[in-house]
């Protein structure tokens, strides 16, 4: 025989425990009071609401290092458009599931970071009202040019243009990327560095091999020459054949 209304009393005990616990137990009260400003002041006017970028990023209650929101374009140190990684290959545009990316290739080519001159995006628009933050563009990008931003305060009074992010809005530095996603950025940079190192190593190896080959060739030639010279001392010596630029060209073409 159970107590009359015992289940109700048990439930009331649970709610009472939660009521009291919410004042003492961090585990129970998981919500946090949302401060308007760090200096605990009200915003000066209603239009103040979309916060400054730095402030948004410092607000770790809403944004963690793992959050992804909308894509952005990465550029390396220097002027954004001079160092943008994107080469307007349009793979992301093709793969984007909701098709929110629009890219126009540039007419001319541009050289970045000592690499071969490539196209750059003349237009790069992302309609974030359509984007669903799926990160597929990031996955398919072969140049590590597009990554996810965690900025979320994008509210705007402009109904049509306001949510269409243009190329210049999207361009963010690699430092910024490191700030918002330190682990991911470090991993990515490491991978790029590894790849680059691997490439360098390969290049070096190739160069060395070439050098060796050239040396060998030169040697052989020299020997041959010597031989020839020995054979006919009248003929003048030829310039050595190996060229640095050729090797580089070959490497870039991979």
């Amino acid at each position: 025989m159970s107590l009359l209304g015992g289940g109700i009393f048990k439930g009331m005990a649970v709610t009472l425990r939660n009521f009291v616990g919410s004042y003492f137990d961090k585990e129970r009260l998981t919500t946090k009071e949302y401060a308007w400003r760090t200096d605990d002041k009200l915003p000066e006017r209603a239009g103040d609401y979309p916060k400054e970028e730095a402030e948004q990023l410092s607000d770790t209650t809403t944004v963690t290092h793992y959050s992804r929101n909308f894509p952005m374009l990465l550029h390396d140190e220097g002027e954004p458009m001079d160092t943008v990684r994107c080469v307007a290959c349009q793979i992301c545009e093709r793969e984007c599931p909701p098709q929110c990316i629009y890219i126009e290739k540039s007419k001319d080519k541009m050289e970045r970071g000592g690499n071969k001159a490539q196209f750059y995006p003349a237009t790069f628009d992302i309609d974030v009202s359509v984007c669903m933050s799926c990160q597929i563009c990031v996955e398919v990008c072969p140049f590590d040019a597009i990554v996810m931003n965690s900025q979320f305060e994008l509210s705007t009074p402009d109904r049509f243009g306001g949510l269409l992010l243009r190329r210049d809005d999207l361009l963010k530095s690699n430092d910024y990327y490191h700030k918002i996603h330190p682990e991911e950025a470090a991993a990515r940079d490491k991978r790029i560095a590894d790849e680059k190192a691997a490439k360098e190593a390969k290049k070096k190896a190739a160069e060395e091999a070439k050098k060796k080959a050239a040396e060998a060739k030169a040697k052989a030639e020299a020997e041959a020459k010597a031989k020839e010279e020995a054979e006919s001392a009248e003929k003048p010596a030829e310039a050595p054949a190996p060229t640095h630029t050729d090797a580089k060209k070959e490497d870039n073409g991979e």
Partner: protein, 378 residues
């Protein structure tokens, strides 16, 4: 003016009241409509109307690459994006020879069982909310759900639309320390469940509101193709994790709770879910013990281009059997893409369960079916 139809009942002649509950109604769990004919408070006829959230999911998928559909599967049952991803990945992986690394399999199980916890705990909260509690159980449920969603966010970058699974593995590895945090959450969960059970399972009002309400017989449940906890609440021992042993479920020891009776009512459906959560915790503990370091992506190529074939992949989603049927025609896009949504098929018996019940019962019966309109309407 509404249609009134004269009816005879108990010798008292009254007129029927036609109420269109929804699509804007607090307890239809989205944009769902029930055209209810009421005799006083009793439901004499009920017609479910849906399609308000139709997004052309299946046809869209036929016009884009296999991978591009993956984020869209998140939006089917937006409570359980991980299991949706898994079902789709399973189907696609059957189309092509692909090897899934060990660590990825373990993480898939962990994610899927965490999803089950998320779904069941909030379903119980919503259900009790439909019963009329002022959100208290729901908010306790959401408090716990938040902790799991934080884990999802750390792993995949998003809380709900995770888009985490890939053909042949997972998109990325979990960050450092994630497994420890998960273990902490999992270890604490039973304590919360005890409290939750104390709050709900013995409450006289809940008992008398749910028992004998929304009866679904075993035969009807089987014939209507009901799956998941709802089928088990009607007394059928059927769980795809046991039947198919997909993934690595055969390595874990767990039990499947099901009802003793031949008829399942709302109380059974509620309790089966409560008990399933405990089993999920067991699986999670075993999986967290068993997981080892390793790669998370197999030998999958960059371009997914299967040969001509058909495949059907199904998982035990928290709501029931979630299946994806794919027909490949040798291109990078599926020729046919079809979802078997558990919510939709479980919803088909709504009318049978509701007729003769009170209008307040119709609401909780709908709640106990556990539908998500994103999946019903696709």
């Amino acid at each position: 003016m509404p249609n009134y139809e004269l009816i005879q009942q108990d010798g008292l002649e009254t007129s029927l009241l036609e109420v269109s509950m929804g699509p804007h109604h607090p307890s239809t769990h989205g944009v769902f409509r029930m055209d209810v004919k009421l005799d006083g408070e009793t439901v004499v006829d009920l017609k479910p109307v849906f399609g308000y959230l139709h997004r052309n999911h299946e046809k869209l998928a036929e016009a884009m690459s296999y991978l591009a559909s993956m984020p869209f599967t998140d939006r089917l049952d937006y409570f359980n994006s991980m299991t949706n991803n898994w079902a789709y990945a399973l189907a696609a992986e059957q189309l092509i020879e692909i090897e899934i690394p060990e660590r990825a399999e373990y993480l898939r199980v962990i994610m899927s069982e965490l999803t089950r916890l998320v779904n069941h705990v909030s379903l119980v909260g919503f259900f009790v909310n439909d019963l009329g509690a002022l959100g208290t159980p729901l908010l306790y449920a959401f408090r716990e759900r938040e902790k799991i969603l934080d884990l999802f966010e750390q792993a995949s970058g998003a809380r709900m639309m995770c888009n985490y699974f890939r053909f042949g593995g997972l998109r990325c590895d979990v960050p450092e320390g994630w497994l420890d945090r998960t273990r902490e959450v999992v270890d604490r969960f039973p304590k919360f469940l005890d409290e939750y059970e104390k709050l709900l399972c013995e409450n006289e009002i809940i008992l008398s509101r749910t028992q004998g309400v929304g009866n679904l017989s075993k035969e009807l449940a089987i014939n209507a193709g009901i799956t998941g906890p709802m089928l088990r609440a009607s007394g059928v021992n059927y769980d795809i994790r046991k039947v198919d042993n997909y993934g690595i479920y055969d390595r874990f020891k767990f039990r499947v709770p099901y009802s003793k009776g031949k008829v399942g009512d709302c109380y059974d459906r509620f309790m089966v879910r409560m008990l399933e959560m405990r089993e999920s915790i067991e699986i999670l503990k075993q999986a967290l013990d068993g997981i080892e370091a390793g790669p998370i992506m197999g030998n999958a190529g960059k371009v997914f281009k299967p040969a001509k074939a058909e495949a059907y992949g199904r998982v035990e989603a928290p709501k029931g059997e979630l299946g994806f049927y794919l027909v490949a025609d040798g291109t990078t896009q599926p020729y046919r893409y079809r979802v078997r949504p558990p919510s939709f098929i479980n919803l088909t018996v709504l009318q049978d369960m509701c007729i003769g019940q009170q209008v307040a019962d119709a609401v909780i019966i709908l709640g106990s079916i556990d539908i998500v309109l994103g999946e019903v309407d696709r």
